[in-house]
Symmetry: C2
Subunit: 376 residues, 2 copies
């Protein structure tokens, strides 16, 4: 691979929102960008062609899940994640740390790494910074994430400080474990921690910059804290990170969260919300969220969002989706996921255009005004 990972900041809107472009050997990513989550080497209910058709340029896969099943060596023998799941665009893999803390049992964290038991079969497993890098390389990811510890909310300041320092040391080890510093075309992102504490966030950012990464993630948000607290952290934390590198807010969020965070200079997002909520019948629309299972859609001949051009809205009525959902038909999960991911990609595209035209503040007002009549 001769193309190396790069980020170009194309434009900064007066509001602070950024329009950028990430270059990877597997294609460009226009930012701000939303990455659909392909947990177990599939964006749930979606064909890779469906994902591409929503406008997604990159997707995220979960190292924890693939480490356990089918295993990174199996994926490597089958040609890597892109060949395995037939997604030829870039893939970002998380480090596995977050799921170790949220899904596994009998966790034991040491300086060396984290021992845990698989949530699938109870088998004893171990993840260290070096193993996390090795696994992500074997998966053939284009953007790798450092192993970190993601503290819950609330957490004691002492614990938050020790945990953040550990994550920094793990970040440095991840960088050392990387192959020839990115000559294989892959990027490595560091993850800022520090909870809701501005001082710890500052120390974390400075430490990460010292190590030097291809991009920087904001971790430890959307972990149960009140929404105003997340907004507060986002009001200062992105600016602590280098202006010339992509900033990635992990695991966030609702459409209004993305609009807020983009206004604070965030470039990349991932979240299970559009896919998971689709499978629960919730659809995101320009007028707000609706749920197809409500009785008022029983005979509604309109599509979920008449302004939407997705493969679902172009063809099917709310009445049909209501019927599929009530009948627990598999097609319903796919059609609703197609719509939600399309909505998210349209939202990102609209934000990119607004930033390029220096009218992000106006876009934000219009976005909220359209949702004033939000039906639920």
């Amino acid at each position: 691979m001769s193309v190396r990972f790069a980020f170009e900041l194309l434009h900064a809107d007066p509001s602070g929102a950024r329009r950028g472009r990430v270059t990877t050997p597997r294609g460009l990513i226009e930012t701000p960008a939303f990455m659909p989550v392909g947990t177990a080497a599939t964006v749930k209910a979606m064909d890779p062609e469906d994902v591409r058709a929503t406008g997604a340029a990159i997707l995220l896969a979960n190292t924890y899940h693939l480490f356990l099943r089918p295993g990174h060596e199996t994926v490597a023998r089958l040609g890597g994640l892109h060949a395995f799941m037939r997604w030829d665009g870039p893939i970002l893999t998380d480090s596995g740390g977050y799921q170790v803390f949220s899904l596994s049992s009998l966790r034991k964290i040491t300086e060396e790494g984290v021992a845990f038991r698989s949530h699938l079969d109870g088998s004893a497993r171990f993840l260290s910074p070096e193993i996390a890098i090795r696994v992500q390389e074997r998966l053939d990811a284009d953007i790798l994430m450092q192993l970190d510890e993601c503290p819950p909310y609330p957490a004691e300041r002492d614990y938050l400080a020790r945990s953040m320092e550990l994550s920094l040391r793990w970040g440095a080890r991840c960088k050392s474990a990387r192959f020839a510093d990115g000559e294989d075309g892959r990027a490595l992102f560091g993850i800022m921690q520090g909870g809701m504490d501005p001082d710890l966030r500052r120390v974390s950012a400075a430490g990460l910059i010292d190590i030097g990464f291809d991009g920087y993630a904001l971790g430890g948000l959307s972990v149960g804290e009140p929404k105003p607290l997340m907004a507060e952290v986002l009001s200062y934390a992105p600016a602590l990170l280098p202006r010339d590198k992509p900033r990635y807010l992990m695991g966030v969020g609702k459409p209004e969260d993305l609009v807020m965070a983009v206004g604070h200079g965030v470039d990349m997002f991932d979240c299970v919300l559009p896919t998971r909520n689709a499978r629960n019948g919730q659809l995101f629309t320009r007028r707000g969220a609706i749920n197809v299972k409500t009785a008022r859609f029983r005979e509604d001949p309109l599509p979920p969002d008449p302004q939407c051009g997705c493969a679902t809205c172009r063809r099917f009525s709310l009445a049909y989706l209501h019927h599929l959902f009530r009948s627990r038909e598999i097609l319903g999960y796919r059609l609703m996921t197609i719509h939600n991911l399309h909505y998210y990609q349209d939202l990102m595209a609209d934000m990119r255009q607004a930033i390029a035209q220096d009218r992000f503040a106006a876009f934000r007002q219009e976005f909220h005004a359209a949702r004033d009549g939000e039906p639920m």
Copy 2:
């Protein structure tokens, strides 16, 4: 609609296999034809575009399911089944009788019709020949089936005889209930009953021909009888039906059953096997059936059937399907259903070609020879 339903017998192979063409206002059906089952206004796990891409020209929908949910009046208000589910080709609906006998509870059959309770909510429902026709017309079906009683196997001859006579009387009432004898472009098929008894089958066929239908179905097979018994009935029953009308074997079957029945002059089939078995991990291939969940496919880089041109075999490995199935990923059900329906359509196309070339007997030999090494 100016096009009326018609059947043209294009060619009869020396073996007895028939090559024909059904004309409907919504398109042509080359026979022998296999109709995928779209139970609740969706072929399970499939997009209507997926179904079309497998080569299917017509699909079957279940009157019983749609009568209960969302209701035929709801479907009618939404523009009929084709608009509702976005399938613009012809649709055959069964009469609802079979599911009343297999799914509902507290059934009570009288001359007038059958009272039962919904398997969904226990509500009291009633189906008569006139109601079955009305429901199918409101669903906007292209081929309607008469209401009949489908006796189980084994059954007493007296019961079989009485039941067959009742089905004949119901068939006559269905014909009387039809709109202007097909001027709306729809066809009505009668259903031959009589169990495994040649005399009753003869009486049933003669009675149906007296009434006069646009096509004739062989009912009461694949209801639990030993396979040689089904083969025996098929060796004489199709020939009891008019040569110039389509013959439809209901609810059958495995690939080898289709090959056998085509050899006896059957023109149309429907069965849940390719779709249901796909969701259980069973794939039909030219070498026989395989199950993706078996461990030997864990790292198999080959597609399910290297000779298959379906959207699954063109893109995905057995290893990936194995992984999706073991992870219970929704995408797996769709990919496996795509393959199985494609296999069935390829099989029908191969049979149509063999019949046209007077080499159906040779085809049948090759079909069985290829499966000698059947792995399960």
